[in-house]
């Protein structure tokens, strides 16, 4: 068989049924092999769309997502998506075509140093050197993407290797290996948990990445320790858990931010003390000892010194930490904070209040749904006001904060989970960044539901200008947006526009009950801001509050 056919065989060996991509000269042999293959290819309208769809596929299922592009500009268009996957630890394999080996380094047409570009935005990358190593490199790519701390892996394949002939040999898929934690460390962690007066779980995306959501929920149930969640963890701690303090950080819930400042033991579980979580780092959890549980040794004591650290497979480790401390006062305090700082939706006036709409949307959606969002104010409102039953149902660009994420990610999630309702919540700025993917939705008739919160502004930047730049609104006015309903209709996607609170109920029902894709254009007040907010460089108990929290 040819090298190109081998690529598809290896994909199938790894259980890959769907891939996202865009063809071009240097990857034509692989596209030719695809023509007769059982692997289903989704033609996106931009390689960035393909990379994000692979992310949506991976994040909504916990499996690996695959994207493909040609050399040069095809590969550079993948870069933002791969960087996003790197920052959020998402298992993605990217396959790029490269010019003939003999032309590499000659500035040939569409010849670029893709391996060089990949170094800082992938977990690992390969430029395949010979046909002999092709199969092995591809298998390594799949294993690496998913093992340890997951991440994107790029395989750049020169065209001569794609057209050369090679034998296909079955390859045993290796069992994944995990570090073995020391029993002493586990014993010490158990002692610390047992002795703590004010323990707090700080739950991160690592729990979902380790597929240990059930183990985490069992541990909470057993220990009854209060918990705070990062953006990527939302959905891990059950919404009905009595000590779920919610989202922590810059736009987090006050209850979470105050609890973390008071706790005496912080059990960091697959999180990484990101600056959007900690605020001013040396004021974060000032009274706490830290137990840090992770799979990546480089996260331990990177920003906050750990008193005890354990590197392990969470599925095995978490059940070993079942110690129930006796802390009635702390539990009463947690309950008090939760009650005191519950979100409020009593918004006066006729206009649409986005937080309330999102909360309502959450309650209206059928149980099996997945919400993707873009980046900005609407992203924070989704995190604050929508309710999730799994981190796989809330896809948000955390580490990279990439506008344009939402629409193609919702496409990937819909392909991976055809029976789930895939919803994207976008802003008018972000939506335009990958708007071409409406073409992909239509081409495959994917029933993605789009909620476009239109404030005619780059809202989050405008909010910072208002608060920190003396209301000097430099380049954030989007009042010349296109007519989004007409735009959707140009792609033959039904759409509806609303601007009054009393239209929300019917509009949400119409959208959810529609058979195919649907765009709901929601006009909201450009003055609405996201509250509360920890100003940059401030401590988490120094939150600013607006009128409506």
């Amino acid at each position: 068989m040819t090298g190109a056919e081998l690529v598809l065989k290896v994909l199938q060996q790894h259980g890959i049924k769907h891939i996202f991509g865009y063809p071009g000269g240097a990857i034509m042999p692989i596209y030719d092999a695809l023509y007769d293959s059982d692997v289903q290819h989704f033609l996106c309208r931009h390689e960035q769309g393909a990379a994000f769809s692979a992310i949506g596929y991976a994040r909504s299922t916990g499996t690996v997502g695959v994207c493909m592009a040609t050399s040069g500009p095809g590969a550079t268009n993948l870069v933002t998506g791969l960087a996003d996957a790197m920052m959020d630890s998402v298992p993605v394999v990217a396959i790029t075509g490269q010019v003939f080996s003999s032309l590499i380094g000659t500035d040939a047409f569409q010849e670029m140093d893709v391996l060089g570009m990949s170094l800082s935005i992938t977990k690992h990358s390969f430029l395949v050197q010979s046909l002999d190593e092709l199969a092995d490199v591809l298998h390594q790519a799949f294993e690496l993407a998913q093992s340890g701390r997951p991440g994107p892996v790029l395989v750049d394949i020169p065209k001569d290797i794609q057209i050369g002939s090679v034998d296909f040999e079955p390859y045993p898929i290796a069992q994944r290996e995990f570090p073995t934690p020391s029993q002493d460390d586990i014993a010490q962690a158990r002692d610390m948990i047992g002795a703590a007066q004010k323990p707090l779980f700080y739950v991160g995306g690592g729990v979902g990445a380790a597929d240990a959501i059930n183990e985490m929920q069992d541990l909470l149930e057993y220990t009854q320790i209060p918990a705070i969640s990062t953006l990527k963890a939302l959905g891990t701690v059950p919404t009905e858990y009595p000590y779920n303090l919610g989202f922590v950080g810059m736009h987090g819930n006050q209850a979470a931010n105050l609890a973390v400042q008071e706790c005496d033991l912080l059990i960091c579980t697959g999180a990484r003390f990101d600056d959007r979580v900690t605020g001013k780092l040396d004021t974060f959890a000032p009274h706490a000892k830290v137990i840090h549980l992770d799979i990546d040794p480089a996260e331990i004591s990177k920003l906050r010194k750990a008193d005890v650290s354990i590197l392990a497979n969470f599925k095995k480790l978490l059940p070993e930490l079942k110690v129930a401390p006796h802390t009635p006062e702390w539990l009463a305090r947690a309950s008090g904070l939760i009650a005191e700082y519950a979100w409020r939706y009593d918004y006066p006036g006729e206009q649409i209040y986005a937080p309330r709409l999102l909360n309502q949307l959450s309650k209206t959606l059928p149980h099996d749904h997945v919400v993707s969002c873009d980046v900005g104010q609407h992203q924070m409102w989704v995190a604050q006001h929508m309710l999730f039953t799994s981190p796989r149902n809330h896809l948000s660009s955390g580490g990279a904060g990439t506008m344009g994420f939402g629409l193609p990610v919702a496409i990937g999630a819909q392909v991976a989970r055809p029976d789930s309702v895939s919803v994207v919540v976008s802003g008018d700025g972000s939506f335009m960044m990958n708007v071409q993917e409406l073409g992909t939705i239509k081409r495959f008739n994917l029933p993605v539901k789009i909620v476009l919160l239109d404030n005619q502004r780059l809202g989050m930047v405008k909010q910072w200008q208002e608060l920190f730049f003396e209301e000097r609104y430099s380049e954030t006015n989007l009042s010349d947006n296109p007519d989004f309903v007409t735009l959707a209709k140009a792609f033959d996607i039904p759409a509806l526009s609303i601007d009054k609170a009393d239209q929300v109920d019917n509009a949400l029902q119409t959208m959810i009950n529609s058979d195919g894709p649907f765009l709901l254009h929601v006009q909201i007040d450009d003055k609405e801001n996201v509250w509360p907010l920890v100003p940059p460089g401030k401590a988490n108990d120094d939150m600013l509050e607006g009128n409506n929290t």
């Binding site: 060089g116 170094l119 050197q129 780092l281 000032p286 040794p297 331990i300 004591s301 990177k302």
Partner: protein, 89 residues
């Protein structure tokens, strides 16, 4: 603070780039570098001297994460007390 690190890595054409990129990006300056290619074992041995004020353990951990790096040893550290990026106990 100056640190000497010995690394063993699989011989791939871009390994040095990977190592040097991590050193720079994680906040260290390169003082000297020595590399030898052992063709029989298909490995590279690399000796780096780097300087920087951040905790060297952070750089060690990041270098160990490189897929091609098989061994790493911190041989020597010279200079003032380690002053970490904001770290509170």
């Amino acid at each position: 603070m100056t640190h000497t690190i010995n690394l063993t890595a699989q011989s791939r054409p871009e390994v040095m780039e990977r190592v040097l990129r991590v050193v720079r990006h994680r906040g260290f300056a390169l003082n000297s570098v020595e590399m030898n290619n052992c063709t029989t074992s298909n490995t590279l041995s690399i000796k780096l001297t780097v300087s920087g004020e951040r905790p060297i353990s952070n750089l060690e951990n990041q270098l160990k994460k490189l897929y091609d790096v098989s061994q790493l040893e911190l041989c020597q550290t010279q200079g003032m007390n380690e002053s970490a990026v904001a770290m509170n106990a």
